[in-house]
Symmetry: C2
Subunit: 428 residues, 2 copies
């Protein structure tokens, strides 16, 4: 994989020009894209190199992949739907313009599921092309995992950053809700849609996010003896594969061996209830956010999306308000949980990437934290017996993004240390 | 003016067809638009009548004006800027699609200030063409006030619904934040942008909002002896004109005479601080939301917008976070205020519409409640010595939109009663 930090270090030390760095990424894309199918559209090579040559700022030299759910004025924007084939929005989405103004070169739009919902695109998992890369940020995760680009932008409404990061074995970071503007993203659910990022490792994704937002997000050293980690097995623990449960337990054991304070964090009933409320909030909002798309193009939507919008439109305001009240209560209770734990660790997905490309997997282990808005990081490093990646999810208090990233980075180091035990062998 | 409720009653009683109702509105537009300049674009007459003839649902027969800050797939969408001349978005904004699916006929896009910020459009005040109609929802308020249409959609980021409603002498309703989706509106500030509505009277605007959202918002009778009204003079009271202060005092006196419990509601310091935080939140977000517009088109933005975006971009995340913390605190304190008062009443604007079209007036009396997200209603009925309208603002607890509308309607009846005292004569 291409390390964001290594590239930036080489550029800052004048060992590499921004143009040469982007050229390297373009070569990797040329070599691997046909197999992976991570890109919906690619910028012309000349335009990308010219942009890189002009670029200044903390993201100069960074070949960036942007999920095709964000508007780009110079590249087609399809939102993963044939309805928008060839659509060219008049201006860039906020996060795209921010990345460009920090020097990034947008080398392509990455494949998204249809409207960032469930209907998959054509991207395969770089670790095994017979397996899904996850979704909805399929192309962003796979492009980083395949070593084509050092950073990519995605979104999460259910589990669309943390799950594909876990399936593809890269670092994924879902910031606190609204830390990064979603303006210019095709809205699915305005209470849930969250911009997120992918990079090779946790320090990479943190440094990328810091450069893009101007916020102090770079990872810091962790004071292990002062660190209180809650192992969040929750009401859904048994729905994770044995290999995934082993991965989380292994991370916990390594953290404890390294001096951190480990404790079980039981799932408050209010958080189990909030998880159940996610679908009601999401689908009620999607039916309204996409009312214009449905009115004009219902026949061109996938059956799963069309049926979800029809069901969502039938969710009465009263039911939606009750679900929002459960979400508010969940946010409050999540806050109290972080009085006892600096971070929680949990599965980043139910297991390794499922075989087949018909689905992108299940957001079961992510949607609660999307609804509450807490920052989450997918930590790469472990694999199952078949060599498929298993991500460990680190969750922190709302607004404590740097804590989530720093602890995730520390954990990543423990998982990668030479003395680490063999990876789990009892894959389901 | 055209009453939404009267039109709907005639249609439901089969005294008027939906097509004939829309034809009436089109005749009024044909007669008055040249003088008022409320529309940025008009639907072709044939298309509008054909849509009305097909329409079913609770908004059938309603000729609707949509602020040109919302996407429409069949009408140009300029966001009030030459940058977007002729722009035709691929699908309707959420609220537009919802209105159409409830039967409304979109007869035109109404004039907005540039990007719904400060730079005025060409609309004049129907009560005196030498005066501003207010902004940023200039055309929506003026089109209703001039009797051209029975309902219009606008937005408020500072004071862009309640202020133009006050200046134009119509009912304006800013719902609780996110009661109505802002998807497909050109984002200025994602924490503040709020969809709102205009109609001739309060019962009209409430019934329109109920039909559009499917929520129980229609006005209910008020039990006056049980009603606790706080007169919110606040830290900025003296910045309202004498006529406006008289208007609020008069409304309070009438309410008390009608049996309600009146009390002074002092402004908590946290709310004065939240008001001051509004600009920081708005401008930091605008610079990021519009980063793509700025990157491509800075030279074609008005000086006031360009300078605001430049200043906003320089607002560091830390300053923005402090402002957001003040906003959160303000929301909490606003909640405690409504333990003692069912509603607050306050000026809807600093006074009557200022002379001249160079500015659209000051959102000073509105921006706090946009930041806190409380529902607000502008109650029409009073005028100054020159005959220019003065609105009284009714504010309720977050989520208590029906209370705000019902009390506003009751107050509107008191202001309109034959026994009401003469209107204020000491205009500034």
């Amino acid at each position: 994989m291409q390390s964001f930090l290594a590239l930036r270090a080489a550029i800052e030390a004048d060992r590499l020009t921004a143009e040469a760095a982007v050229a390297q990424s373009l070569e990797e894309i040329a070599a691997r894209e046909a197999q992976i199918g991570a890109f919906e559209a690619l910028a012309p090579r000349d335009a990308a190199l010219a942009a890189a040559a002009r670029a200044g700022g903390p993201l100069a030299g960074i070949a960036l992949g942007v999920k095709d759910i964000f508007d780009t004025h110079d590249l087609p924007t399809t939102y993963g739907s044939p309805v928008f084939a060839g659509h060219r929005p008049p201006v860039d989405a906020a996060v795209v313009a921010m990345a460009r103004s920090a020097g990034a070169t947008v080398v392509g739009k990455t494949v998204t599921t249809e409207y960032a919902f469930l209907q998959p695109g054509r991207t395969v998992n770089p670790h095994d092309p017979a397996h899904t890369p996850g979704g909805s940020s399929s192309g962003s995760a796979a492009a980083v995992a395949a070593g084509m680009i050092p950073a990519a932008i995605g979104t999460q409404t259910g589990g669309s950053v943390i799950r594909p990061a876990s399936f593809c074995g890269v670092a994924g970071y879902k910031p606190s809700f609204r830390l990064v503007p979603a303006t210019g993203m095709k809205t699915f659910s305005w209470s849930l849609d969250t911009v997120g990022f992918f990079a090779a490792g946790v320090a990479d994704v943190a440094a990328f996010a810091a450069a893009l937002t101007g916020r102090p997000l770079a990872v810091e050293p962790v004071d292990a003896p002062a660190l209180r980690i809650g192992v969040y097995r929750g009401a859904i623990w048994q729905r994770a594969s044995a290999a995934m449960r082993d991965a989380v337990e292994r991370a916990a054991a390594l953290a404890e061996a390294a001096g951190a304070q480990l404790a079980a964090a039981d799932e408050p009933e209010a958080l189990a209830a909030a998880r159940e409320a996610h679908a009601t909030v999401q689908n009620h909002e999607a039916a309204r956010a996409l009312a214009g798309d449905f009115a004009l193009h219902a026949a061109r939507l996938s059956p799963v999306l069309r049926e979800t919008l029809e069901a969502g439109f039938a969710i009465a305001p009263e039911a939606y308000d009750r679900a929002r009240a459960l979400a508010r209560r969940g946010r409050h209770i999540a806050g109290t949980l972080f009085a006892d734990h600096d971070v929680l660790i949990a599965p980043a997905a139910p297991g390794a990437a499922p075989a087949g490309l018909e689905t992108t997997g299940d957001p079961l282990f992510n949607k609660l934290w999307t609804l509450t808005g807490n920052p989450c990081v997918a930590v790469p490093g472990l694999t199952d017996a078949a060599g498929l990646p298993l991500g460990v999810q680190v969750i922190a208090r709302f607004g404590r993004d740097r804590t989530a990233l720093s602890v995730a980075h520390w954990l990543e180091g423990l998982l990668a240390a030479p003395a680490r035990p063999a990876t789990a062998v009892n894959s389901p």
